[in-house]
């Protein structure tokens, strides 16, 4: 039985390796389209709703986690409308490559990760995922997971929560969902080898 399982796993991994070799071969072949290297964006259909994953803020839009959660078509439609505004807001929160003095004057009530985590201007802040959507008639609540390279060279993951409200056909930041951010995340590899993160406070409790 154990032997059979090992043989099965071996075949699975061999298939994956063959796919990898085939894929890399395709990628590096001379007939390969430049679109395999250059991302110009695409339209993603989720639950029958179209999402424009296109510039500006292409990477922030890619970070929208829309498939891992139970969202109705009406919820997805709201997120689709809010996507450009949330992506622009996320980009402003990252504040990479721009002198803070040149940043547009933002709402004073928005928490700054750079201030909370005391990150200097050289620290490159990235977005990992935007998720945990909670949609009501008037507002959209969600989390943004950020990450950056810490002083020891390891990635540090950090989560904060946001509430957006619709205002004259625009979606704008209204408030934070909770008085305190979830803060630093503890990440571990799951049985499939992927990194799964939970707030450090919750990880300590378990």
């Amino acid at each position: 039985m154990q032997r059979e399982q090992q043989v099965h796993r071996w075949h699975t991994y061999r298939k994956r390796f063959e796919s990898l070799v085939f894929g890399l071969g395709l990628l590096f072949s001379s007939g390969c389209s430049t679109e395999y290297f250059v991302d110009k964006g695409h339209v993603d259909g989720v639950g029958g709703i179209a999402f424009e994953i296109k510039p500006p803020y292409l990477n922030e839009k890619k970070a929208f986690n829309l498939r891992g959660e139970s969202l109705s078509p009406a919820d997805l439609q709201k997120i689709s409308e809010a996507m450009p505004f949330i992506a622009a807001f996320t980009n402003a929160q990252l504040g990479n490559g721009i002198s803070p003095a040149l940043l547009p004057v933002s709402e004073p009530k928005v928490r700054s990760i750079r201030e909370i985590q005391k990150l200097n201007a050289d620290t490159f802040l990235s977005v990992k995922t935007i998720q945990n959507w909670q949609i009501t008639a008037q507002q959209i609540e969600f989390n943004i997971d950020y990450f950056y390279t810490g002083q020891d060279g390891q990635f540090v993951y950090y989560r904060d929560n946001y509430v957006f409200k619709s205002n004259k056909q625009k979606w704008v930041f209204e408030k934070h969902a909770t008085a305190e951010p979830e803060g630093v995340l503890a990440c571990e590899k799951n049985s499939s080898g992927w990194r799964v993160c939970v707030p450090l406070k919750r990880a300590k409790e378990n």
């Binding site: 994953i53 510039p55 986690n65 990992k128 390891q154 990635f155 590899k189």
Partner: protein
């Protein structure tokens, strides 16, 4: 009677060896398993299914995604972005328990790939972000 759980099975069967053979793009049926949109890791939306986010059991998706975001930051140096990618993979690989040889091989593969094929992606991303 002894209970048999996954962790025990992995210990008996030597999960480390099997983990070493893991290559995974993180996509299934044209969608990313983490729920994000295609291209939010290693590769673009078109090549996401072919470019591994996991090599030898090491998850490099975050290093790749940070590299993409560096390219998309107006004025960011390509050399710095590519150097950061290599350093981040090395550090993240070590943190995930990869040995020195494995980590250097993975970092080398991705470094060479972005050096050879990253120019057009960098140019495009800069044009998009600086406009």
């Amino acid at each position: 009677m002894q209970e048999c759980n996954i962790e025990l099975t992995r210990q008996v069967q030597g999960g480390g060896f099997w983990d070493f053979l893991k290559f995974d793009s993180g996509t299934t049926n044209g969608a990313r398993e983490d729920g994000n949109a295609l291209g939010a890791g290693c590769g673009t939306a078109k090549s996401d299914a072919y470019v591994p986010d996991m090599l030898f059991g090491i998850d490099v998706s975050q290093a790749c995604f940070q590299h993409d975001q560096s390219y998309s930051t107006c004025g960011f140096s390509r050399l710095t972005a590519d150097t950061n990618l290599s350093n981040n993979i090395l550090k993240d690989c070590n943190a995930q328990g990869g040995n020195a040889l494995t980590c250097n091989v993975i970092a080398g593969v991705y470094s060479v790939s972005v050096s050879l094929f990253g120019a057009s992606a960098f140019k495009q991303a800069q044009a998009q972000s600086c406009n």
